[in-house]
Each structure stands twice: as structure tokens, then as C-alpha cells.
């Protein structure tokens, strides 16, 4: 009894192989879409903005005249924002991660916290802006300050940092902890002197990636009410300020053609900042990556 009609299979084979090759080509083309878009985006922004990018652009304040417009207030403002977001979000994020990985018992409270964190990650950033507007700007009367915006942003990136820190802490092998306990160290001593040092590269990498998200976010700050046009620098965390993405948004939404070039120059500054931060993250990851 012949189970397989070989001649039939042989007849169909070339078509099946051809379809396989064609589809492989299509899948590859789809993969190229991402690369091509990225190339066009960088090329467009670079050619539009490079003419405007010079020392004056970095040192001038925003102006109604496109040729005099600069990015000083926004650039310094972004640094101020990071000065609030980095310590607050890292402290809360790493603390939460240590609690969940090292101390938390398996009960409904822990499960609730974990489910809550994963849902928080899916809340649109603009909703965090509404939270910041109500709680920090109005209820705590922080007004449109660096602190109000920084706290809002910290809550926004908190879930990213928690997840990254949890992964880093989980990757520290049990042996290290047990060796430390075996030497008579207490739980907190073990965490502080053994687990955290081993997990710090992973935590820093995740932290920097989260901060680079915070530095590019616009929507929550618009809702909080950070001004789009400002010509002074903040002196304390209670002063008002503006940041790079807000300044870019302001320039982009102006009708004059010239301001689009100014916006492109601002985007170049923002992208350079992001590239520097991400490179540091990659460097840390590669330099301190230990395999246990």
C-alpha cells in the first residue's frame, strides 16, 4: 500500500519552496521598514536642524524670533527635572524591588502589589499628568514647580525601575546569599553588602533607561502646566521651569516654517542627550556584567 504519492509530492515541492522563499523575502522587507523609517527620521531631523545648531542656540533663551531662539532654559530645566526624578524614583523603585524579592511573604498583599505594578505600567502617561495636577500642583500647593513635575515623573517611571531592579536582584544567585548567612551576617547586612553590590549594574542600567524615558516625556508635563515659553532659569526646586520636549512641542506647533528648523535643532540636542544616556547604560551593562 502506498501511503505517500511521491510524484504528487515532487510536483508540489517547487511551488512550496518558492512560496517559502517569497515569504522569507516579505518578512525581511517588513523588518527593513523599521530600519528605513529610523534612517529617514534621523536624516530629516539632522538636515533640518543642523543649520541652527551652534553655540548661540545652546546659550540663548527662547525667543519670538526664530533666529534668536535658543534652548538654554529647556536644557538646564531638563537637568533640574532629572535631579528630582533620579533620586526619588531610584530610591522608591529599588526599595520596592528589595521588599518584593527579599522580604515579601507569598500572600494576597504581595500579589496585589505585583498586579498593581504591572497595571501601573500600562496607564497612559497623560493620566499621570492628571494625578500630578490634582495632588502635587493643587492639593500640596507645589504649583508648577520642578518638584511637582519631578514627583509626577517619578511615579510615571517607577514601575519601569521596579521591574528592572527586581530582575537584577533575582539574578543574584542563592549561593552568595547563603555564603553570607553562613558567615553570620544578618538579612539586611546580606542585602546591603552582598546582594545590592552584585545587582547594582542591572539596577543602574534599568534606572538610566527609565530616566531616558522621563527626559523625553511631554504629555504629563503639559497637563501639570509647565510653561511652554520661559526666559529664566530655576533657582530652587520650587521655581517653575521648562524642559526640552516642551520647548520642542512649542516650536513644532508654531505656524512659521523657520521654527520647524529650530524644533529640529532642539530634537538633535534631545537625541544626543538620549544617546549619551543609553551609551552609559550599555557601557555599565557590558563592563560589570558578571556570569555566575
Amino acid at each position: 500500500m502506498k501511503l505517500i504519492n511521491k510524484s504528487h509530492v515532487a510536483k508540489r515541492m517547487p511551488v512550496r519552496l518558492a512560496v517559502n522563499t517569497i515569504c522569507k523575502g516579505l518578512f525581511f522587507l517588513a523588518t527593513l521598514v523599521g530600519l528605513i523609517v529610523l534612517a529617514i527620521l534621523f536624516y530629516r531631523i539632522f538636515t533640518q536642524g543642523i543649520g541652527h545648531l551652534n553655540g548661540d542656540f545652546l546659550q540663548n533663551f527662547a525667543s519670538r524670533k526664530p533666529e534668536e531662539a535658543g534652548i538654554k532654559a529647556a536644557l538646564i530645566g531638563s537637568v533640574w527635572l532629572m535631579a528630582v526624578v533620579a533620586p526619588v524614583s531610584l530610591m522608591l523603585g529599588v526599595g520596592t524591588a528589595i521588599y518584593l524579592e527579599e522580604y515579601a511573604r507569598k500572600n494576597w498583599i504581595t500579589t496585589f502589589i505585583k498586579v498593581n505594578i504591572s497595571n501601573l505600567a500600562g496607564v497612559p502617561s497623560i493620566v499621570f499628568g492628571l494625578l500630578g495636577l490634582t495632588v502635587f500642583v493643587r492639593a500640596l500647593a507645589l504649583d508648577r514647580s520642578v518638584l511637582a513635575a519631578g514627583l509626577t515623573m517619578s511615579l510615571l517611571v517607577l514601575s519601569v525601575i521596579i521591574v528592572a531592579a527586581q530582575e537584577a536582584i533575582r539574578a543574584v544567585p542563592r549561593d552568595l546569599r547563603e555564603a553570607s548567612f553562613g558567615m553570620g551576617a544578618t538579612k539586611w547586612q546580606t542585602i546591603r553588602k552582598v546582594v545590592l553590590p552584585a545587582a547594582i549594574p542591572g539596577i543602574l542600567t534599568g534606572g538610566i533607561l527609565a530616566l531616558s524615558r522621563a527626559i523625553g516625556e511631554t504629555a504629563p508635563l503639559v497637563v501639570v502646566g509647565i510653561p511652554l515659553f520661559i526666559a529664566f532659569l530655576p533657582q530652587t526646586v520650587l521655581d517653575t521651569f521648562t524642559v526640552l520636549p516642551m520647548q520642542i512641542y512649542n516650536w513644532t506647533s508654531r505656524p512659521q516654517e523657520e521654527f520647524q528648523q529650530v524644533a529640529a535643532a532642539g530634537i538633535i540636542v534631545l537625541l544626543i542627550l538620549l544617546i549619551v544616556m543609553n551609551s552609559i547604560a550599555v557601557l555599565i551593562r557590558n563592563k560589570f556584567q558578571k556570569r555566575y
Binding site: 512550496r16 519552496l17 512560496v19 515569504c23 522569507k24 518578512f27 525581511f28 522587507l29 517588513a30 523588518t31 521598514v33 523599521g34 523609517v37 529610523l38 529617514i40 527620521l41 530629516r44 531631523i45 522608591l92 526599595g95 520596592t96 521588599y99 518584593l100 522580604y103 515579601a104 496585589f112 502589589i113 498593581n116 497595571n119 501601573l120 500600562g122 496607564v123 497612559p124 502617561s125 497623560i126 493620566v127 499621570f128 499628568g129 492628571l130 494625578l131 495636577l133 490634582t134 493643587r138 517607577l158 514601575s159 539586611w188 533607561l209 527626559i215 523625553g216 511631554t218 504629555a219 503639559v222 497637563v223 520636549p245 520642542i248 512641542y249 513644532t252 520647524q260 529640529a264 530634537i267
Partner: protein
């Protein structure tokens, strides 16, 4: 520590001495402190929900909830204002649908290429590029939509308005594509090699194996990734604010100006609607609607990936 030669001095005594010196018991306090930090993430969620509920209630005191959901016009700035959220929802769904048409095929094909066809070397080049694409701030995408995609589309379709749904929709699709691709790829990679090899042994080509064996096995993860991507598209703000315009409309036309829920919140926030006005409270009602939309989609994604997961 000075050594005392005359008396015996054991390690145990040293430990006891050291312990008695400490007045505060760090070991007891630290877990409580860390628990408080963990509780802040819960308070954030509670804060979001309470904020939205309270301010939305004030809004519904002034505008009837029935009008909010049934009225077909969103004209908050008119002399006789009309608050019907449907046009904003329609605008949001238009953007989401266009984004899905771009992101799902391209993202899925990219995931299949990376997981089934590409060599390790190609993967190592392409994955970081997708990460860069995913890390670009949305305001940059907005600028790109307004200054590049819209002009190109207007050359192709001269009837297209300066502000339209098509251009930001496509760009939102590009923005969520890396996320769909990378989550779908994770789902495909986690399908064990043995069932692929079973298909090859039966004489299937790579494509047949992928479509008839690997994709069905990974379908829960893929659907979850698409739902998550679409939830991002619904909440996306800056691209639609910059390139989508500010005209809420009910029709299905993608060539004219629209407004999404997020873009409305931005429009009010960057204007000068005073604190306490009905318009001020309307952004919370819109925010609440947006929050419910994304929450339902995120829960749906979690449900799908848990309920329909194939265990090997």
C-alpha cells in the same frame, strides 16, 4: 579590637557585645520601611482612581452623564457648550485602527523573521535598532508626522488636510511596532524546538511550520502583544496633538482634522481654561474614559496570555 591574653574571648561573646551596643534594631525597621516604599506604588494607583472619580463627579454635577455618553457633539468652547464624548472616542479609535493596520502586519512579520529566519548575527544587529525606535520620544515622532509624513501623504492624496487622522495614525503605528514585534518574538521564541522539528520531519517547509505549527502555539502571546500595543496607541498623546488637529468629528473620514481624548486634554491644559470651570473638570471625565479604555485592554491582554497559554 585589642587582644586580651589572660582571659578567653570567644566569637560568641564578640557577637553578643556587638549586638548589645546597637540601640535601634535595624533588622526590624528596614522591612517596614521597604514595605512603605512598596505601598507607594499602590497609593499611586489609588490616587489616580480617586482623583479621576472625584473630579469626574464634579463634572457630572454640571453636565448630565446621559448627555456625556449620548450627545454626538463635543463643543466645550461654544457659547452653548455641548459635552458628548463620542466624537473624541471615534477620533481615538480611528487613530488606533490606522495604527493597527500599520503595526500588526509589520510587527508580526518582523517577529517571524527575527525568530524563525534570521541568523544570530542579523538578530544582534536588528534588535538594538528596534530598541532605538522604541526609545524615541513621542514628541519627535509628532514632529516627524507633521513635517515629513503629512507633506508626503499630501503629495500622494492632494485632498488631504494639513491636520488629519491618517498621518498621525501611521506614525503611532510605527511607534508601537517595535513593542508588538519584540513581545511577539518572545512568544515565538518560547515555542519549543522539538515541535518545529516534528513538523520538519513530516516534510513541512519553514513557512508551513511557522504558520501551521509555531504561530498557533504562540497565538496567546501574539494577541496579548497586539492588545498591549493598541492600548499604547489609545493613550498616545503628543503625535496626535501635533499632527491630528483639534476638530472632534463623528464621521469616518481619515483625511480631515480630528481630535482624540488625549489631544483634548492637552488642548485644555496648554490653553488657559481657569481652575474650577466646567472645561477644567471635563479633562478629568475624558481622562477617566481614557483610563477605563486602557485598563480594560491591559486586563484583557493579561487574561489572554494567562488563559490561552499553551504549556509545554
Amino acid at each position: 579590637m585589642e587582644l586580651r591574653k589572660t582571659e578567653t574571648y570567644s566569637v560568641q561573646q564578640m557577637i553578643l557585645e556587638k549586638k548589645s551596643k546597637k540601640k535601634v534594631n535595624v533588622e526590624k525597621i528596614i522591612p517596614k520601611l521597604l514595605f512603605l516604599m512598596a505601598a507607594i506604588s499602590v497609593f499611586t494607583t489609588i490616587g489616580i482612581i480617586l482623583t479621576l472619580i472625584f473630579e469626574t463627579f464634579i463634572f457630572f454635577d454640571r453636565v448630565s452623564i446621559v448627555e456625556f455618553f449620548t450627545e454626538s457633539k463635543w463643543l466645550p468652547f461654544a457659547s452653548v457648550p455641548s459635552f458628548g464624548i463620542m466624537p473624541l472616542i471615534v477620533g481615538t479609535l480611528k487613530i488606533t485602527l490606522i495604527a493597527a493596520v500599520v503595526a500588526v502586519p509589520v510587527g508580526l512579520a518582523t517577529a517571524i523573521f527575527l525568530s524563525e529566519y534570521a541568523s544570530e548575527k542579523t538578530r544582534r544587529i536588528i534588535k538594538p535598532i528596534l530598541e532605538v525606535l522604541a526609545g524615541i520620544p513621542t514628541i519627535v515622532y509628532g514632529f516627524f508626522a507633521l513635517t515629513f509624513v503629512t507633506p508626503v501623504l499630501r503629495d500622494l492624496f492632494p485632498s488631504l488636510d494639513m491636520f488629519n487622522a491618517l498621518s498621525p495614525g501611521i506614525v503611532v503605528g510605527i511607534m508601537i511596532m517595535p513593542m508588538v514585534a519584540s513581545l511577539s518574538e518572545d512568544a515565538l521564541v518560547s515555542v519549543p524546538k522539538s515541535i518545529r522539528e516534528g513538523a520538519y520531519a513530516l516534510g513541512a517547509t519553514k513557512l508551513e511550520t511557522t504558520i501551521k505549527v509555531v504561530l498557533p502555539a504562540a497565538v496567546s502571546g501574539i494577541v496579548a502583544s497586539v492588545v498591549l500595543g493598541l492600548s499604547r496607541a489609545i493613550g498616545e498623546t503628543m503625535i496626535v496633538s501635533v499632527a491630528g488637529g483639534s476638530t472632534p468629528s463623528m464621521d469616518m473620514d481619515v483625511t480631515s482634522s480630528i481630535q482624540t481624548m488625549t489631544a483634548y486634554i492637552v488642548q485644555v491644559s496648554s490653553g488657559d481654561a481657569g481652575y474650577g470651570t466646567t472645561i477644567y473638570y471635563s479633562i478629568y471625565a475624558v481622562g477617566m474614559t481614557l483610563f477605563v479604555f486602557t485598563l480594560v485592554m491591559n486586563l484583557l491582554a493579561q487574561f489572554i496570555s494567562r488563559r490561552f497559554r499553551e504549556e509545554y
